[in-house]
């Protein structure tokens, strides 16, 4: 049993060391602060700042949208508002959506893009695909944390004369804060790292996107593009990009731990 635990831990250590050892030599100040311009894929200079910005422009709005939708649904799924039968049906739908491979959301958006005659890809549809991907994740994790809230807390809010809406928005929301933070950051981590859905929807670009209909670069798709290049030097840049992506994911994980710990101080146990 201990051996299997070490296999699991070892695989993470393996992944981190492989990426760090291969990525760190290609990292430089220049590569982090320039756009890819014309020659990044051909072995010339340039960096991948446009991919970092692109990824943030995709994941931040998507997480924001998914958060607003997710928290409202999660609050509404509780017994105060909905009959358990319908609530469980919605939960089942969300669970299925959670399980749906991200490439399906990509195909979904691609289908709409073909239907409206948009080719190549755009930031907008990338955001839509990621939002769809993140809604079930964020909703279900907030929902789980709301379920843990003691009934007495809601009852005392009701007994003071609060309406359902006020109780949900002011009492339940505050009490569920650690779960909400964890859920949102989980969704953000999935969104920024997911390649399959944006591969089909955002296209590629060597510069910053300037409008919603622009094509854009993103970290995961850039890794794929770099790896498929024949030149070994260019391929090595993929590890530098992966290094940055991994650092972002690790940061998110640490921020989650810190914030959930901090915010759970203020909730009523």
């Amino acid at each position: 049993m201990l051996a299997s635990v070490f296999i699991v831990m070892g695989s993470l250590i393996l992944i981190v060391t492989v990426i760090v050892l291969n990525g760190a030599p290609s990292l430089s100040f220049e590569i982090l602060t320039q756009t890819s311009g014309g020659g990044f894929y051909l072995g010339a200079g340039g960096g991948f700042l446009n991919a970092i910005v692109g990824s943030l422009l995709l994941a931040l709005p998507a997480t924001g949208l998914a958060f607003v939708i997710g928290i409202i649904i999660a609050l509404y799924l509780q017994k105060d508002f909905l009959k358990p039968g319908f609530a469980n049906f919605v939960r089942l739908c969300l669970d299925i959506l959670w399980g749906v491979p991200s490439v399906v959301y990509g195909v979904f958006c691609l289908t709409i893009m073909i239907a409206i005659g948009m080719t190549g890809g755009s930031l907008l549809f990338g955001v839509i695909a990621l939002t769809l991907l993140e809604i079930p994740i964020i909703t279900r994790s907030i929902d789980e944390s709301i379920k843990m809230i003691p009934l007495g807390l809601k009852e005392s809010a009701y007994s003071l004369g609060s309406t359902k809406f006020e109780t949900a928005m002011k009492v339940v929301r505050k009490q569920a804060m650690p779960g909400i933070i964890a859920g949102v950051l989980l969704g953000f981590g999935r969104g920024i790292g997911d390649a399959a859905s944006i591969l089909l929807t955002v296209g590629d670009s060597n510069y910053f996107p300037t409008s919603l209909t622009d094509q854009t670069a993103a970290l995961p798709t850039m890794i794929l593009n770099l790896v498929s290049m024949p030149d070994q030097v260019v391929q090595n840049k993929a590890y530098a990009v992966a290094f940055v992506l991994l650092v972002i994911v690790l940061l998110i994980s640490m921020v989650t731990r810190y914030l959930t710990k901090k915010s759970s101080k203020h909730i009523i146990k």
Partner: protein
């Protein structure tokens, strides 16, 4: 009075906002021809208008807020069916050209000559998913048991972050590692060991290996949750009857958390089944019925990733790929429904 209990200034401000937004909306409509901003400012104007003439009470806020929440909830359920409908609608195109059995039971995938047989890809998908689950399930279950029941608290606190981080590692990073580590290992060590000398390393087996690592954290964290939910009294009762620790794990904890473990395995299966990028990076991307585990292949999900660029040159291919996505969706749907039914039955039978 229009505003229920606001001061003069508050009312005046609102009136100003209303007039300005009405003015701006006309400016945008007639002078700048920007319909979006026109709609936005008209919307603000209407809100101000309504706010001025309706008494805003707490019960009204409650009513409207609740309705809005209901609307959004129904919208997401609608989205679920919209997803299904659009996938079905998109794949009708290819289903009219070729029969369903042709698509599923013919094994030549040649989009350029108009042949869209998925049999080989489906077989590959099943093999890859099965092998990755065979590797992942025992290891993750054993780890989960160890972490939940045997490990000292200190060790548990070290391991938990590892699992959380592993769950968050992007699939493309997994793929990159597999490309650098597993592909050469499979080519030079594993494949010759099993007597297949011509393997390039890009193989079904490599894909299964990386998939099993991706599935670990999902199964482990869900299993841990259900192990921890088993009441302490139940374990103590078993131990006090003279059962050993392992007997307690096997006969009490496993039985009590059976449905949760099953759900975890189903979820892990879904992840392995639908993973796209990591698989497409190491599987070799050839639509063949595999002769050995160490030959190249293609899964349903990676088929989409490696073919989507041709969509604009072959219109029917788009429809074929949408059909593949529909298969992915329906299989996940069926497994979730199965899991749900099993859970419902099981939680009645295994109730404690």
């Amino acid at each position: 009075m229009p505003v229920s209990n606001g001061s003069w200034i508050k009312k005046y401000k609102l009136l100003l906002v209303g007039i300005v937004s009405l003015f701006l909306s006309f400016v945008f409509l007639f002078i700048l021809n920007n319909f979006f901003l026109f709609a936005l400012f008209l919307f603000i104007f209407i809100i101000v208008l309504v706010y001025n003439f309706v008494k805003v009470t707490r019960s009204l806020v409650d009513l409207l807020g609740t309705r809005l929440m209901l609307f959004i909830t129904v919208f997401v359920v609608f989205l679920f069916f919209l997803l299904l409908a659009i996938l079905i609608d998109g794949s009708l195109n290819i289903l009219q050209k070729e029969s369903l059995s042709d698509l599923i039971f013919s094994s030549t995938w040649k989009p350029f000559s108009g042949e869209f047989g998925l049999f080989a890809v489906i077989v590959d998908t099943m093999i890859v998913t099965a092998i990755s689950m065979i590797i992942a399930v025992p290891i993750s279950l054993l780890s989960a048991i160890y972490i939940a029941e045997y490990a000292p608290k200190k060790f548990r606190n070290i391991v938990r972050p590892f699992i959380d981080v592993l769950a968050g590692v992007p699939s493309v990073v997994f793929g990159l590692c597999a490309l650098l580590v597993f592909v050469p290992v499979v080519r030079e060590d594993v494949a010759p060991f099993f007597g297949s000398t011509i393997s390039s390393g890009f193989s079904l087996f490599t894909a299964s290996l990386i998939l099993s690592i991706m599935v670990f954290p999902i199964i482990i964290s869900l299993c841990l949750e259900s192990f921890n939910a088993v009441p302490q009294a139940l374990k103590e009762a078993s131990l006090s009857l003279g059962a050993t620790k392992w007997e307690t794990v096997k006969k009490v904890i496993f039985r009590a958390s059976g449905p949760g473990v099953l759900a975890a395995i189903f979820l892990g299966f879904g992840r392995a089944f639908g993973e796209t990028i990591a698989v497409s990076m190491v599987i070799g991307n050839q639509e063949l019925i595999p002769k050995s585990l160490f030959g190249p292949g293609q899964t349903l999900a990676s088929l989409i990733a490696s073919n989507y660029t041709e969509v604009s040159s072959i219109p029917i291919l788009a429809s074929a790929l949408i059909f593949v996505a529909l298969i992915l969706f329906v299989v996940v749907l069926i497994f979730n429904l199965l899991g749900y039914l099993v859970l419902r039955r099981a939680s009645k039978r295994w109730a404690y």
